[in-house]
Amino acid sequence: MNTIPGRRIIMVVFLIFLLLPIYWLVNMSFKTNTEIVTTMTLWPHQPTLENYKRIFTDESWYSGYINSLTYVLINTAISISVALPAAYAFSRYRFLGDKHLFFWLLSNRMAPAAVFALPFFNLYSAINLFDTPWAVALAHCIFNVPLAVWILEGFVSGVPREIDETAFLDGYSFPRFFIKILVPLIASGIGVAAFFCFMFSWVELLLARTLTSVNAKPISAIMTRTVSASGMDWGLLAAAGVLTIIPGALVIWFVRNYIARGFALGRV
């Protein structure tokens, strides 16, 4: 009753539309460059793992993944740990300027990275953090911390206030209550917030490329410079692309029930 006629066809067509370009990338990642350029084949006739082998052996390639993972993990850790107490404050208390602060966080989540590219460049060079994972991790906080606060505030508000009061009446101190009672109750919320911080930091390119040059170069930046002597090495580029999809694809299954809530800033 609550779905529409022909829904199966619409769903299948839409899923194919989504999967086709990804399939083409994966398909290409197993082809040799010559096969790619010479013939148009729907599946690799001479499949090769050369592209992947190249990425896992060439230091300038796999270092990109390590650098990306480094700043993404740092950013997620910072975002969640600062966002947890703030989410509790926004959920439980009214204080001077709380509405404006909550709005300011939202506006920062929406701030265009382009606006901050140059100022960050100057800022992090000034405090010689340029070309370190810390630069990118801190830069990404501008949209990940607000996201984490908004998501966690939704989950904390799901816990009735009376549980806090009962714990305080039982004699719990605030930190002990926070860690032993509240955190276990919003564990799924923390997991969701962590996944989305990880994800939004992982997908961002502009700031990551602007704030790094050599030794903290993320994979996304390395990919845009794959023009080798013999023209564009498409197979290698495709393989690198496929490997950037793996982390998200692996973890998505665990948060599949909260996907909408995460993307909607916890407001669903």
Partner: protein
């Protein structure tokens, strides 16, 4: 050990929720806060517990001012209306949690938790988590945790309101036994007069943030200071009729006149308001000579043990109660009879002037 509210008021966003309340609770007593919803019962409890700060006035424990004290230093336990437990802990851990925080030795915790579980008949459920239990068992777990702590002050805020009809009856019958087992000060909030009567102890009648009258439960029930107290302490609602006393006879509003016998005899002439509860109104056919009124039935509510007959007389609604099952068809006209010995009379200022003397 005593807890006192001294001229306490509280306003939230400009609206006064508690107006100048003074209350003293002694050790080992049970006080029932009786009043309709939004009469300030929960606010009073939160002030007693220290969860909220009064706008003016003081909260004293054994004479010492604890108004600003943090709730953690107070020895208080509270049971909420919506059975609040720690969902991630088992029933055993839920009950043990206050003792664990106090750092009690293991065997003492084990002993006291088993004792509380036995009192609340929770032994078979100790290993489960609260969400796997029925509403009644969840509330028993919350009560067990409140008792095991041995707090000096135990507050229960309408603990039975969310339970199924029969579950409420069972737990209500057990409460007196549970309270006697612990010597703490108990404060129990409810909207139902029958719970106040059942639990005994003292009753504090509340109305829109004020304490109207407080004292021994049956005394307040039998001697309400004002019409409002009588209304708060009556379920189904108190029946009211205006009367005019003039030289030896009583003129009821709506056209009935009868000799001023019984409690009317000693009244000075003038206008009064007569209040009488459902069981003080007898429903019969044609008992001559007594204060009888013709009334039409609007609906009969049957609970099994009792039947409440809703009557309409001279544009005011009355309710009479009969034992057992009696179905009166709406529209049926019958005689509702008042016994001048068995009613309450209030003066023009709604103050009690006459009440039935027998039990």
């Amino acid at each position: 050990m005593s807890v006192t509210l001294e001229r306490v008021t509280r306003t939230v966003d400009g609206i006064p929720t508690i107006r100048d309340v003074s209350l003293t609770l002694e050790r080992g007593t049970l006080s029932v806060l009786l009043g309709p919803t939004l009469s300030g019962k929960t606010s009073i409890m939160r002030l007693l517990a220290g969860l909220d700060k009064p706008t003016t006035g003081r909260v004293l424990v054994d004479g010492k001012d604890v108004t600003g004290a943090d709730v953690r230093q107070r020895s208080v336990a509270m049971v909420y209306q919506q059975f609040i437990n720690y969902p991630s802990l088992t029933v055993y851990e839920n009950i043990a949690s206050p003792l664990r925080v106090q750092g009690r030795p293991r065997e003492e915790i084990e002993r006291r938790v088993q004792e509380a579980a036995k009192l609340l008949r929770l032994e078979p459920f100790l290993k489960r988590t609260p969400l796997q239990l029925s509403g009644g068992q969840q509330q028993r777990t919350a009560i067990a945790r409140a008792l095991v702590k041995g707090a000096d002050l135990v507050l229960l805020d309408e603990p039975l309101a969310n339970l199924d009809y029969k579950l409420r009856e069972e737990l209500r019958a057990e409460l007196p036994r549970i309270f006697e087992a612990s010597g703490a000060i108990f404060v129990y909030a409810t909207t139902e007069p029958s719970e106040a009567l059942l639990l005994g102890g003292d009753t504090v009648c509340m109305w829109e943030g004020e304490v109207l009258q407080s004292g021994n439960t049956s005394k307040v029930y039998r001697r309400p200071d004002t019409l409002r107290v009588a209304q708060v302490f009556s379920d189904p609602p108190l029946n009211i009729v205006g009367i005019e006393k003039k030289n030896g006879s009583v003129q009821y509003a709506g056209g009935i006149e009868a000799p001023a016998t019984g409690l009317y005899k000693s009244l000075a002439d003038g206008s009064y308001r007569v209040g009488f509860r459902a069981h003080q109104l007898e429903v019969a056919n044609g008992i001559a000579g007594r204060h009888a009124f013709h009334a039409t039935v609007t609906v009969t509510e049957i609970t099994g043990s009792e039947s409440f007959v809703h009557l309409n007389r001279d544009a005011s609604n009355w309710v009479a109660v009969l034992q057992g099952v009696h179905e009166y068809e709406p529209g049926h006209v019958l005689d509702a009879v008042l016994d001048p010995e068995n009613l309450f009379v209030f003066d023009a200022a709604d103050r009690l002037v006459a009440a039935p003397n027998k039990a």
